[in-house]
C-alpha cells in the first residue's frame, strides 16, 4: 500500500516526465517542419537568370516601318530543367538607326498576336484584341499596349540584337 507521500511523488514524477516527452516531441516535430518547410518554399534561390542579348537577324531582313516576326531560341533555366524556349518578337525598324522590338504575347490573356499586313494591325486570334503597328491598343479587351523589348542595332555589321 503506497503512502500518500509516495503517490504524490509519483504524480510529480509523472508530470515532469510528461512535460519532457511532450517538449521533446514538439521540438523534433518543429525542427523537421522548419527544415522541410524551407526546402519546399524556396526553390528559386538557386537560379537567378539574367537577361541576355540575342542576335535576331540583320537590318537587311527588315523593311522600314513593317513589323517582321522573328522566332528566337532562348535558353532558360527552370529549376533543374534547362530548356531552349522559342519566343516570337516583332521587329519594327524605322529604316535608319532605330529599332523597336514588340513582344508577340497579347497583354489580355497571353495568346500570340499576328501581323495583318493589309490592315497594318496586330490581331489576337483569341478574343479579338487589335493593336496598331506601334503596339498601342486599337480595339478589344487588351488592358495595355504590347510589351516592348530592349533592342539595338550593332552599327558595325547592322546586326539586330534584342535583350531577353
Amino acid at each position: 500500500m503506497p503512502s500518500s507521500s509516495d503517490s504524490s511523488s509519483l504524480r510529480g514524477r509523472r508530470r515532469t516526465l510528461a512535460i519532457f516527452v511532450n517538449t521533446a516531441i514538439a521540438c523534433i516535430g518543429g525542427a523537421l517542419t522548419a527544415l522541410v518547410g524551407a526546402f519546399a518554399l524556396r526553390p528559386q534561390s538557386g537560379a537567378a537568370a539574367g537577361a541576355r542579348w540575342f542576335r535576331a537577324g540583320t537590318t537587311e531582313d527588315l523593311k522600314p516601318d513593317e513589323p517582321v516576326p522573328r522566332v528566337l531560341a532562348v535558353s532558360r533555366v527552370d529549376g533543374w530543367y534547362r530548356e531552349r524556349a522559342r519566343q516570337t518578337v516583332f521587329l519594327v525598324w524605322d529604316g535608319d538607326r532605330t529599332i523597336r522590338a514588340l513582344s508577340a504575347t497579347c497583354t489580355h490573356l497571353g495568346c500570340q498576336v499576328r501581323w495583318d499586313a493589309p490592315a497594318k494591325k496586330f490581331r489576337c486570334p483569341c478574343h479579338g484584341g487589335v493593336y496598331g503597328p506601334d503596339g498601342a491598343v486599337v480595339e478589344g479587351p487588351p488592358p495595355r499596349p504590347l510589351d516592348t523589348i530592349e533592342a539595338r542595332i550593332d552599327p558595325k555589321n547592322q546586326t539586330v540584337l534584342v535583350r531577353i
Binding site: L35, V36, A40, P43, G46, R52, R55, W80, R84
Partner: protein, 520 residues
Amino acid sequence: MKDWLDARIGYREAAHVMLDEPLPPGTGWFFTLGSVLLGLLSVQLLTGAFLTLYYAPTPDHAYDSVRFITSLPAGRIVRGLHHYGASFLVVALALHMLRVIAFGSYKPPREVTWLSGLVLLALVLAFALTGYLLPWDQRAYWATVVTINISQLTPLGGEIVAGILRGGATIGALTLTRWYAAHVIFLPAALVVLVVAHLFLMRRHGISGPVRSHTGPSQAFYPFQASRDVTVVTVVLIALLVWAWRGVPALEAPADPTDATYVPRPEWYFLGLFQLLKYFPGKWEVVGAMVIPGIAAGFLALLPWIDRGPERDPRKRRRLMTVVAIGVAGVGLLTTLGWRDSPASAAVGDTWTLREIGGRAFVQKAACSKCHSEDGVADPLEGMAATRTLEWIGGHVADPEMIAPGLREAPTVVHEREAAAMVAYVRRASRQPYPGFPEQVETVGPIFARYCVGCHKIEGDGGTEGPDLTHAGEKHDAATLRRWIVDPELVDPDADMPSFGDRLSAAQLDAISAYLAARK
C-alpha cells in the same frame, strides 16, 4: 471546449488506448529500439515525400534534379537525412532484431509478430535497393546492373525476375520509373500496412518484457517508458542530423553505360553479400547469391519453431546464442572484408588524365566558349552536368544547326577522338575545377588525346593495342622515342605503328618525346 471535441471525436478514449498500455515492471532501455525504428521511418517518409517535389525520374533529368536538390537552401540536409537515414534504419533494425532474438520475444504467442518483422526487414532492404538507383549517377547505375544480374541467378525463371526488375530490354528509362514507383508508392504502402499490423500484434499480446519477471506494479507506457523512448529517439535523430550536416551524400559523375573503368561498389550494408559472391565463382555463384542468404532467411523465419522451449533467458539458451553470434560475426567479417577489398571510390580518377587535359585544348580551339560562357547563349561548360552521350556531343560539335538554328557559326570538323576528349574534359570539369598543369603537359595533352590514346594507355586511360606508355621513359630516351614516333619502321621493321612524322610539327614531336622520356 475539450469536452465538446471529445464528445464528437472521442480523443480521450483514443489517447487512453494509445498511451496508457500497462507495461510489465522492469521494461527498460532495451525496449526503446522499436520506437527508434518508428522515428527513423517517419523521418524517411517525411524527407522522401518532400524530395519528390523536385526529383524527376527520367534518365535525362534525374541526375540534374538531384544536383538541383543539393543546391537548394535546406536541400543538402533533407537529402542527407534521407540518405544517411537509410543506414541508420538498417543499423536500428539489426539491433532491434538481435534484442528480440536475445530476449526470446518471438516465442508463443508472438510468432506472427516476429514474421511480420521479418517482412518489414525485407521491405526496408528493398527500399534501400530501389532508392540507390534514383540519383542516376555512376554508383547508382552500376550497382543496379550488378543487382539485376544477380537476380538472373534465381533458379527457375531468373530471366523473368530480371525482366520484371529491368522493365525494358536494357537498364534505362523503364527501369528508373519502375524502381521509382516501387520506392515512392508500392513499398511505402506495403510498409505502412505492415507497420500497423506489427504494432497491432505487439499491442494485442502486450510486449514480452524482461526475461526474468520483476516484482512491483506495472507502469503505464506514457509517460514512463515514453520518456525513455523519446530520449533515445532524440539522441539518434540528433546524431543523424549531425551526420547529414557534415557530409554531403556522394553524387558521382552521371551514369555512363559505356564506361568500362568504373568499379561498382554497393552501399555498406550490402557489402557482406557482395563479398560472399567473390568466393563462389562460375556456376557456384548461385550458392553465394541465393542459397546462403536463403538459408539465413529460412533460419530466421523458422526461429520460433527451432527455439521451442518456454525459457527466454539468453544465458540458458547458449546453443542458439552461439549460432546467432557466429552469424553476426560472419556478417561483420564479410562486411569488413568487402570494405577492405573494394577500391576507395576516390581512387578511380582523382587525378586528371592526359586525355582530359587535352580535351581542354580542343574545347578552347573549337571556340565552344563563344556560346558556352557566363554571358553567352548557353551555359558554361565548366560545372555543366554532362549527361549526354558521346554520340550526342559528337553530333553537337559537328553540326551546330542541330542545336540552335541561326545562332552558331558554320561547323568546323571535329575528329571523333577530339570529341571524346572534350567529353572527358567536360565531365571532369563538372566535378573538379581545372587545377592548371605545366606547359609541357598542356602541350602534350591534345597530341596524346588526338593521336596516341587509341592504341596506348597512360595511367589506365587509353587503348590496349600498343604498349602501355605509363613508364615509357624507363627503357628509352627522348631521342629514340622521337625517332620511333617519326617513323617506327626505321627503328623496328616489324612495327605496326603508323608514322607520325608528317602529322606532327617538330615542336610537337619534341614535346611528346620529352614528356614520354620523363615518365619513369
